[in-house]
Symmetry: C2
Subunit: 340 residues, 2 copies
């Protein structure tokens, strides 16, 4: 198993990426990695680490260009040929032994590059992005699509449901993931034209466990494993959840610091607040996956810690080892042979 590691573009690159990759090598003996980025920087990380370094399983590719949040994604993919991300995407396409690309760089560029340059699983109309959030019951929920596809067809929502279901089974061991359609009410007939057309299609899709419409307020309830939506709605859903949680925690902190007695009280609750912060730190739940691409593409948070990036390695390993993409291809083929 061979993973390509984009070692630039994250807040703590290349340290985080190199360190997370080394943790992966230690856990999975069958794994080898290609570290792509600034060679000197990568070598420096390898020298200063206290983790075991098995150089026979590590290749370094020098590609020092960085794609930043300021770059326009499609321009960056076309023009920044010496960047670690573009180089990684090219290697993923051209090297038959490469199983996955993992990056903490620009989400837009990674999605654009992978969508344009990596082939699709047969039957997939367009790849979709599937981040993971923690639920209030201690589990997780995936949201597919979260921004890669706007103006979609009802059949694409069906593909998101199939791909996301195989993903949750393979990467997280969730059996019969409960799939919901994001809507403005739970009743069957709710929604706009897209949702109304998609509902009966989802109801009649084999190989998924469709449980009906979900209102956005129930995202974190733990009653659903996968929410399917167009990329516009998914983007609003994810960013509103993260934004509200972040603003609320910031407000709490500000309010605590506003008075001595609150600060005193907070001393007793230090451990609890630390756990709350950890809970709402989405990177602890793994990266976002681009589903439907012929090869695995995993996006870790820009602010990933080494252990958060290691989670991405674990996720990629689970997907590769379980043959997720083959299972997605089989499920999609079953749809096409289905009587309409």
């Amino acid at each position: 198993m061979k993973f390509l590691i984009d070692c630039l573009g994250g807040d703590n690159s290349p340290g985080t990426n190199v360190s997370g990759a080394l943790m992966g090598l230690e856990k999975y003996p069958e794994l080898s990695v290609v570290l792509i980025g600034d060679e000197a920087g990568i070598e420096a990380e390898l020298k200063k680490t206290e983790q075991p370094v098995d150089r026979s399983r590590i290749e370094i590719v020098h590609a020092p260009g960085v794609i930043t949040g300021e770059d326009r994604p499609t321009d960056a993919i076309r023009l920044k040929k010496d960047s670690s991300m573009v180089r990684g995407i090219r290697m993923l396409r051209e090297d038959p032994a490469a199983d996955a690309l993992l990056s903490t760089g620009s989400t837009g560029a990674l999605v654009a590059g992978a969508t344009l340059r990596i082939g699709r699983i047969p039957g997939v109309r367009r790849p979709a992005f599937c981040p993971i959030l923690p639920t209030m019951t201690g589990g997780i929920v995936g949201v597919c699509d979260s921004g890669a596809n706007v103006d979609i067809l009802p059949e694409q929502l069906q593909q998101f449901a199939v791909m996301g279901s195989r993903y949750l089974e393979c990467a997280f061991g969730i059996e019969r993931p409960r799939v919901a359609l994001l809507n403005i009410g739970v009743e069957t007939e709710k929604g706009d034209n897209l949702r109304k057309a998609a509902f009966p299609i989802l109801e009649n899709t084999p190989n998924i466990h469709f449980v009906g419409n979900m209102e956005s307020r129930d995202l974190l309830s733990g009653n659903y494993d996968l929410v399917v939506t167009d990329g516009f709605g998914g983007n609003v859903l994810i960013k509103t959840t993260e934004g509200t949680a972040l603003e609320l925690m910031k407000k709490l902190k500000r309010d605590i610091y506003s008075k001595g007695i609150y600060k005193l009280g907070a001393l007793f609750m230090k451990k609890m607040f630390r756990e709350e912060a950890r809970f709402f730190n989405y990177q602890n739940y793994g990266g976002s996956v681009l589903l439907g691409a012929e090869k695995l593409v995993v996006k870790g948070h820009g602010s990933s810690t080494p252990s958060a990036f290691f989670k991405c390695v674990e996720q990629a390993h689970q997907m590769a080892a379980s043959g997720m993409n083959e299972k997605i291809a089989e499920s999609l083929a079953a749809l096409q042979s289905q009587p309409v």
Copy 2:
């Protein structure tokens, strides 16, 4: 000035509605109210209250039927003719002296009923719903539309921007409200076909202060006064914000009660937590208004307290006294005479 008060359908009806209406009568000498609902229940509330009751400014209309959350909105409007809400809508349409209808009942039924039965301001394609949320900087932000209109045209987003701007000026005294388009990125070219078509239209709309795209994570930032969106996106935006805040506060409470030392710490912060709960209680910021209807329709939270319902009365008074609907009509007329 004459307001119709739907006194059924809220969690604490008719008490809340009667009490809030009495507070309105006390504050605004020019106001009279029609209390619609179960006559005996309303009379009982009037008897037991300690607020001043000026019977010459109060009319009671007996209409004891209730529309509940279980009723299908359009069916309820058609079939429940003896309900306080349907009666209120009919009176609003038929009584030239009636300025507004205020209700804490079913949102779906109120929007459906008012959209179907109340005329529109000239030029309005369809009325839109505009709730208000508190921002982290102590202000408010309106979201229009929040669910009354799905599958819309770019021109409707323009109408939402115009109507919402006049609303924030008239009801809350906000000068030059900053209007943003809900989108999946702040760059001009972002979004689906609807957003891409709407952006240049909004840029060229007179009588509004358009500041560009807004990502959903910035809703509570205080940088925007009005967010315009299709009803699907607006519904997801509002319900995700409320849902996340609610789940987070619930989790905090659960975690505090899980350990003695946390409970002890929380004792010092009792006042703070009470203020947080108040802050995130959306009813304290007033009701949601159906913009574009010929007469004023205000929806208070189902769980409104008397003072929250009084806020709705104040809002309606501000809108009526300032001639908001006439101003909306003027602004829309200016659009139509604009060279394309």
